[in-house]
């Protein structure tokens, strides 16, 4: 039987075996990416929400995700310098720091997390899904790379439903713009059966991902669905959806999680397994990456586990039933894009967060409001009030940024979290007294 916890590098950080496996997968992908030109492979850059990995693979293209590169720069404490570099070049201090980290990284040689230069993309697949900034980001990259740029517009789910007009529009774009240009760039003829095969593989991994995310309903939760969740979503939101590697990884992870449930164990944190689950939280919004471990520690030191999060739905809302469907290959890609969290209107987001609080029996909602990300942040104060009103559970608000270290104030965040945990305690004792 394999060990469930492995000592990893650096020596003081503990990781699940699945985390080690995930890191190896990501490292392998970065090596493929940085060696792409040498190996005669072409590269497509695209985004996590609206990532059409199955389609990209149909053209033998390597998927490069600038958002993930920015996250890697944040985790490696490099993004601050990159952002400053972009601001020196004239980019406003007010705009998205993913964009500035990416542009700053380019200006400083575009060195990836494996220490090698990332290749120039052969095509920019601008999947305009759930985020306005994407549109400008790839216009900015197009200005630099001067490579073909494909625009795929995902209409916004403003009325909480997908209409036939939306799906038809996306399918037409796929047929008339996206696929012909990818054929042209790659020199590979589109084979719809190949796409079906990848989609079927996606659905398999998606089943396991949902099982893993929903394991947060157990008490204690065997996973942290926010900090740990970042690891779990990496492969399927990135370059592995539709691959055998993804199927293997999610099966492996599922077994690991099931094992922890059987043993009544909580999540594994960088300082070892959680001793006691004192608070069960739902978190809305992306995390901070520049101080990721420090941020996580503020939770697990207090015995707080995140049992469900909205951020783990930015690359697909599989727990609401969506699966890639090989029988409707283009329509399913359209519906996938339409359904991602940031393409959902505010009432839908509120419903989802209330469902999580109720179904995962959480103590309350915590919103991490990100300065960079209006797609998430605009409206979060109303979300907070509404969720509190509907569930009767306390909600709290903290402010950080994705990859800009200037906007992570550890003392402020810690203070607010401590106050929040006190609120949860008071609410509990109040309920007890009332009962």
């Amino acid at each position: 039987m394999r060990p469930s916890i492995v000592k990893a590098q650096p020596a003081d950080v503990e990781k699940d075996a699945s985390m080690i496996k995930q890191k190896e997968m990501m490292a392998k992908h970065y090596n493929r990416l940085t060696d792409a030109k040498e190996n005669g492979e072409k590269v497509a850059s695209t985004f996590v929400p609206g990532n059409l990995n199955e389609l990209i693979m149909c053209f033998d293209l390597v998927n490069n995700l600038p958002e993930v590169n920015a996250i890697q720069s944040g985790l490696r404490k490099q993004s601050g310098a990159y952002i400053m570099e972009a601001e020196r070049a004239g980019h406003s201090e007010d705009v998205c720091t993913y964009v500035k980290s990416d542009l700053g990284m380019m200006a400083k040689g575009n060195i990836g997390p494996n220490g090698k230069k990332l290749p120039d993309p052969d095509v920019l697949l601008l999947s305009y899904t759930g985020c306005f900034t994407f549109l400008k980001w790839f216009e900015l990259l197009r200005e630099q790379y001067k490579c073909p740029t494909i625009f795929l517009q995902t209409p916004y789910m403003a009325d909480g439903k997908v209409t036939p007009n939306m799906v038809q529009y996306m399918v037409k774009q796929l047929k008339e713009d996206v696929i012909p240009t990818l054929e042209q760039v790659s020199g590979v003829k589109f084979d719809i059966d190949r796409l079906r095969e990848y989609l079927a593989k996606s659905a398999k991994a998606e089943d396991d991902l949902v099982h893993i995310l929903q394991s947060g309903k157990n008490k204690p939760s065997p996973i942290d669905a926010y900090f740990g969740g970042i690891y779990y979503i990496g492969p399927i939101f990135g370059a592995f959806r539709g691959t055998d590697d993804a199927i293997d990884y999610y099966r492996f992870l599922r077994e690991e999680v099931d094992q922890r449930v059987l043993q009544g164990l909580g999540p594994v944190t960088p300082d070892g397994p959680m001793a006691e689950e004192k608070y069960r939280l739902v978190v809305e919004g992306p995390p901070n990456y520049t101080n990721f471990r420090q941020f996580w520690k503020m939770f697990y030191e207090e015995g707080a586990t995140v049992v469900a999060s909205s951020y783990t739905k930015v690359g697909g809302t599989y727990d609401y039933g969506f699966r890639h469907d090989p029988d409707r290959p283009l329509e399913t890609l359209a519906e996938y894009c339409l359904g991602v969290y940031t393409n959902r209107n505010l009432p839908m987001r509120i419903d989802m967060l209330c469902d999580y609080i109720n179904e995962y029996e959480a103590d309350g909602l915590l919103i991490n409001s990100i300065k960079s990300c209006n797609s998430f942040s605009a409206g979060q104060l109303l979300i907070m009030r509404e969720v509190e009103k509907r569930t009767g559970k306390p909600a709290a608000f903290i402010e950080t940024d994705l990859v800009d270290p200037r906007y992570f104030s550890a003392a402020n965040v810690k203070n607010r979290l401590e106050s929040y945990f006190q609120m949860v305690e008071q609410k509990r004792s109040g309920s007890g007294a009332a009962a």
């Binding site: 980019h91 705009v95 216009e139 517009q153 209006n374």
Partner: protein
């Protein structure tokens, strides 16, 4: 009856601009049983469709510098622009309680999310996020846009309680064509003789069109153009500039006046693009929804909220604007925290650099009060242009 003077027309428009209770729109609604008002935010909505339903399209451009935001700030973090918070203020303070519907065009994530907030805060009001295509092929983006407009028309029919015919829409297209022609005539007058139609006046005249019935606004435009052209006004030694980036949250009127006081003649701008979004007349003798879609896809303005599919064409609208108006420089004036304008700005600046067109940049908010830094910056810009020209 004599034509009103420019001063009288401007005074009337200034009163409309300052009226945050939208009294004229309220009175229009009250004047006849069953009348409806549909509010809309920047940048563009096809007002012809609302007009064809017998309704009043009402432009909501935030609260400006006269509105005290009491409740609105509680809905937004400090790093989000001001227009959504002042728009919420207008809503929760009852200033929009006569509005039957609100349209939120696809311009950025803040306005997009505001549409969902409006649904939550004002469930009794028809709320429409108006998605427009960012791809411009007839059979792709065009078909989608036609579908979106038809869905919107169905909604309007539900609110109006009657069918909206093609004839209704074609009649409205004629009315808006005339209005657009007049708006463009005013812009031409200002570009040719900016001393005759100063930007601060032209701004108020165009802005009145967002709250008045279009027919009434066209009369007002005609009156102002005739009166302004006939008046004798002194020419100043000002520098001709194009201002860009003000397409959503509007500048305080004092900001426009400050630019003029610091030596600028504003000869082109992107203040209220809805007034001249469509370039040229929309044919009024065919399928009106198709014709509106064609105009949007192939004959509409460029702005930061719109995707430019052709790299070579990126930013060229600004270069053309400078050439056509004889401008000597460009001022990038963007709202703080405005993603579209601020992300676009470096690309546009690169295009201007390549075309050897000078520019400066600053940020503002609709309630900016301190104009001295802007005056100094603009004044220095003007001086430097004049020095370069002399050399």
């Amino acid at each position: 009856m004599t034509n009103p003077t420019t001063a009288e027309i401007v005074a009337r428009c200034q009163a409309l601009y300052e009226d945050l209770y939208f009294t004229t729109a309220r009175e229009w609604k009250k004047a006849k049983e069953g009348r409806k008002v549909i509010g809309y935010l920047p940048v563009y909505v096809p007002r012809e469709l609302i007009h064809a339903a017998g309704m009043l399209p009402l432009g909501i451009l935030g609260g400006g510098d006269n509105l005290e935001v009491i409740h609105g700030d509680a809905y937004y973090q400090s790093y989000i622009c001001r227009i959504p918070r002042s728009t919420i203020e207008l809503g929760v303070s009852g200033r929009l309680d006569f509005v039957d519907g609100m349209m939120f065009p696809s311009i950025c994530d803040v306005i997009r999310n505001l549409s969902g907030m409006w649904k939550m805060l004002f469930p009794e009001v028809y709320t429409k996020y108006f998605d427009v295509p960012q791809t411009y092929k007839d059979e792709v983006g065009g078909t989608f846009y036609i579908g979106e407009m038809r869905e919107f028309l169905e909604d309007l029919e539900g609110i109006a309680g009657r069918k909206i015919t093609d004839e209704d829409i074609n009649n409205s297209i004629v009315v808006y064509n005339e209005n657009r022609q007049l708006v463009n005539e005013l812009y031409r007058l200002r570009a040719e003789k900016p001393w005759q139609a100063p930007a601060s006046e032209a701004y108020l005249i165009i802005r009145a069109g967002l709250v008045l019935p279009v027919e009434e606004h066209s009369v007002l435009l005609r009156q102002y153009i005739d009166a302004a052209a006939a008046e004798t006004r002194s020419i100043k030694d000002n520098c001709r500039v194009v201002v860009t980036g003000m397409f959503c949250e509007q500048p305080p009127l004092n900001l426009i006046k400050s630019l003029e006081l610091s030596g600028c003649y504003v000869v082109d701008d992107d203040f209220m693009l809805v007034s001249r979004w469509l370039l040229g007349d929309v044919p009024s003798d065919g399928d009106p929804v198709y014709e509106l879609s064609q105009a949007f896809l192939h004959r509409s303005m460029s702005t930061a909220a719109k995707y430019e599919p052709d790299l070579a064409e990126k930013g060229q609208f600004l270069v053309r604007s400078v050439k056509e108006t004889g401008a000597e420089g460009v001022i990038f004036a963007s709202t703080s925290f405005c993603d579209p304008a601020l992300l676009d700005r470096p690309m546009l600046q690169n295009v201007l650099k390549a075309a050897d067109i000078p520019f400066i940049a600053f940020k503002y908010a609709e309630n900016s009060g301190q104009m001295q830094p802007i005056r100094e910056q603009a004044g220095t810009f003007v001086d430097s242009i004049k020095l370069w020209s002399a050399a």
